[in-house]
Symmetry: C2
Subunit: 317 residues, 2 copies
């Protein structure tokens, strides 16, 4: 069994062409060629923390994958990253453990950014300005990954903390982005036609009246029962609502709130893999508002973990 550390993983992952890999994962999922049980969860109170266990396999593939990812919000006080985790690969035919990827949650960050990349490529109009809610890791990574699919380098950012907004402006400026600081979420949404929501908020922030026609929203902050970024009515004014997993989005994330509030019906939600495979239509009009709700599906973890491990084995030769 191989134990692969984070530095090696990050070195390998740079060489991988991730978009087709993750797309293939979503397609396999929507076509029923994967087995992905419900997420396992473990919560801690003192100090507060959450562990998610995502696991599954693509039928006929070499490995099955288990990902353990945790968030302990007080870690930063100790100088330890809040996110912790690893991915484990096992032989699909014998159950034998094959590899432990001590990625410390970095592969999750990357596969999440790649899903955002895929959605921006698939659903946005010609991007004029990218609005980013949040100033954390995903608020950065999502934008960095977008450079592969758009020439747009105009950002407008909003966060609860002005200091963090300035730091974001500075850091992303060094990476070639022109970053404006928004005074309000409203100002941000009025000036962007691609909006990425990447906060940990449990209060809605983005409201239907502020969203411009033709906007695509990738909502990736909300991935639990309680979290929420889109206000009531946003999904109602959207012509296309995409879920990475319809089953999962019924239980958690923006769509779960929209279903409860009658903003949309389950039947109107389209699964990302079905659009990527051409089974279902994507954006059909430039004026439409579209929303992709990303809660994170194990097929993304499966695809990235297996690709890293196969590449690692290749390099060993």
């Amino acid at each position: 069994m191989y134990v692969i550390n984070k530095d090696s993983i990050l070195e390998i992952v740079k060489q991988l062409d991730l978009i087709p890999l993750i797309k293939e994962g979503f397609i396999a999922y929507s076509e029923g060629r994967s087995v992905v049980p419900p997420i396992g969860e473990l919560s801690f109170k003192n100090p507060p923390g959450d562990v998610h266990i995502k696991y599954g396999y693509i039928i006929g593939d070499s490995y099955y994958v288990i990902k353990i990812a945790s968030g302990f919000w007080e870690n930063e006080n100790l100088g330890i990253p809040n996110g912790q985790g690893m991915m484990l690969l096992f032989d699909q035919k014998t159950g034998q453990p094959k590899a432990i990827l001590l990625d410390n949650a970095s592969l999750t960050d990357i596969r999440t950014a790649v899903a955002g990349q895929i959605c921006a490529q698939q659903f946005s109009n010609d991007i004029k300005c990218i609005g980013v809610l949040g100033t954390g890791l995903q608020a950065r990574l999502q934008v960095e990954y977008l450079t592969h699919v758009t020439d747009c380098r105009n950002l407008i950012v909003w966060g609860r903390n002005r200091e963090k907004m300035k730091q974001y402006q500075k850091d992303m400026g060094h990476k070639g982005f022109k970053v404006n600081l928004a005074d309000s979420v409203r100002q941000l949404s009025k000036s962007s036609n691609l909006i990425i929501t990447a906060t940990g908020s449990s209060e809605p922030m983005l409201f239907p009246e502020d969203i411009m026609p033709g906007t695509h929203i990738t909502a990736m902050g909300s991935d639990t029962l309680m979290k929420r970024e889109l206000g009531p009515g946003v999904l109602k004014v959207s012509s296309l609502v995409i879920a990475d997993s319809i089953t999962q989005c019924q239980e958690r994330g923006e769509i779960s709130h929209g279903l409860k509030e009658g903003d949309l019906s389950k039947d109107s939600v389209v699964e990302l893999g079905d659009i990527l495979s051409g089974t279902r239509a994507g954006r059909t009009s430039q004026k439409d508002i579209t929303v992709a709700d990303l809660t994170g599906v194990a097929v993304q973890d499966i695809q990235i973990a297996i690709a890293v491990f196969k590449s690692y084995l290749e390099n060993q030769k």
Copy 2:
């Protein structure tokens, strides 16, 4: 993070006093001092296999534990053990991974045998003859662990395969047991006052009319929805039915079948930890038939994994 291999684990586990550790785990579980979510499951068809993910923690302890255990029944054709697995320990306050115990399912085998040991000690009358259904690993390990709690070395064994029964007789003979081969389960149950059911059967084998008064049965073979060893009515004639986890036994194992068939009500099931803590009574009459249904609870894994790791750290000093 430490990666501890099977040889080291087996060396350490020999030195541990496991009965009090596992008892404490059951008590913590029954007293609500543990967090043990439902078992995660992953099934494979070609070749057939099952993966169980058991996880949780005892509140206030140092670590949380995730166990991954699989059974791939065709592995033996490849000369690989059917059971595969590992236990993972993480810091309960930060989520940081601390240790990987590559025990290859051996700690599960041991903690299961210890649970049997505890039940025999707690519920059986003076043991005259031990009846063993099955000839596999648990059919052996359960009996070996009983040597610490009884002087009885008389066994009667039944299995579907006569050759395997003879092999069992020979192997256990070398370990100091006098082993009779049963012609039928009925003959076995007529001559034993402690019965251990340790097969992978999905058909009932043991029937109420064949069980002698005063018998204790530890049913540990049936741990999934489909598996079953006790026939209809066995739980009805039992004065005491013990579950390692009432919640879990409602879903899987012998008690789940008994509940469906009306042989007992949920309220009449007593949880092992409640008897071990003295909150509930155990056997009250020598004539009673008692049944302990062991489906395996994560607290057992938590307790044994943490004890092994702590001992490993001690030895490093």
